[in-house]
Symmetry: C2
Subunit: 245 residues, 2 copies
Amino acid sequence: MTRFRLTIEYDGRPFVGWQRQANGLAVQEAIETAIERLSGERVTVHGAGRTDAGVHALGQVAHFDLDRAFNVDRIRDGLNAHLRPQPISILEAVPVDPGFDARHSATGRCYRYRILNRGAPPALETGRVWHIRTPLDADAMADAATVLVGHHDFTSFRSTFCQAASPVKTLDALRVERKGEEIRLVAEARSFLHNQVRILTGTLKLVGEGKWTKADVEAALAACDRTKGGATAPPDGLYLVAVRY
Amino acid sequence: MTRFRLTIEYDGRPFVGWQRQANGLAVQEAIETAIERLSGERVTVHGAGRTDAGVHALGQVAHFDLDRAFNVDRIRDGLNAHLRPQPISILEAVPVDPGFDARHSATGRCYRYRILNRGAPPALETGRVWHIRTPLDADAMADAATVLVGHHDFTSFRSTFCQAASPVKTLDALRVERKGEEIRLVAEARSFLHNQVRILTGTLKLVGEGKWTKADVEAALAACDRTKGGATAPPDGLYLVAVRY
């Protein structure tokens, strides 16, 4: 048996998310099908992050096992050939130690959220950014973000469907930067709760609009009550950028 | 009569190009239809650059005239509403002097060409970059580009269907830069010949691959013969970035 680690880029729009579901095609399933066509083996692909429907990845990581020997050099290009024309690209496919687990061995995950902040809607970035017409104060958002960094109970900022045993997580970084018409949030943590980055984004948007202050964000965090956090930002602007091991 | 100047972003993939044609929908036509729906007037929209099928724009400029008075503030948003769901976005719509002509008043045009230079195909940028697997030497491309800058007969680098009266143009700038996996060419001139940026890109690609030297590019330029220039790069990676007045 050989275990392989994949690094994967995908456009989340046509998929029901990373994880296999009854209601449509999942990224996981598309890759499993490509592996079967290439190798003849029916495998399960385990991903580092379960991105939701419409969420994109620049560097998702996953692992799977093949029983029979296989030409390692052919895997990346072979899978990409079988994945066409789906918007999934295997950036790297390498054999790894059988002890490697894409999800459990991860020591850090980095997400990016892109907001297009201008009057006109996107033509080239439809489905890949959150379009907000109201001018946002990115500096105020960046300042308010600092109260969220650290070890906290994030109940106010996780989906009510979140299945994690504990709402307590350590958010290592949450930066907000404006580059022209685009505002980018970058969030880093060992792991995230369900919808956490999207709810943090939806909350900081209120600060950017001037509807909330930094103190309001602090109060929402302290409340440990989902109804006190901001709305969940749409999946369009979210990217799983990288997974650290 | 009021003349309006539009600044326009579009994804070129679903269109036959900027200019109205019999074989499919043109960007020009889509905008003219939106203007008619908004204002009730049938107009002609004149663009600064006639982008080909599949070529994108971040800042195409165009003008048109309306006979009747119209609430200027409503034009941008009204046109965008009528353009949906087509990937065309009006970034700005402002009244201008009736002497303004989007094409003839232009004093400079800036194009960008994006090459994705990595083994794996694009998942998020399909149709928006030229995917080249062979590692390219961007420094060699940048160096060879310098011989093309200036006042030259560009016969070797224009489409054989080019209708310009003269093949002599002044190329003000041609820069090549690598940013990670992406190589970007930036070309600036008062005006360009048909397919000029794409042929210049296809030629510099040969230098990046090590198949041509800077001297080969110089010889191709001097030959004034289209068969001596490189192949025409695909439209996917080309963007009309801005028009200067």
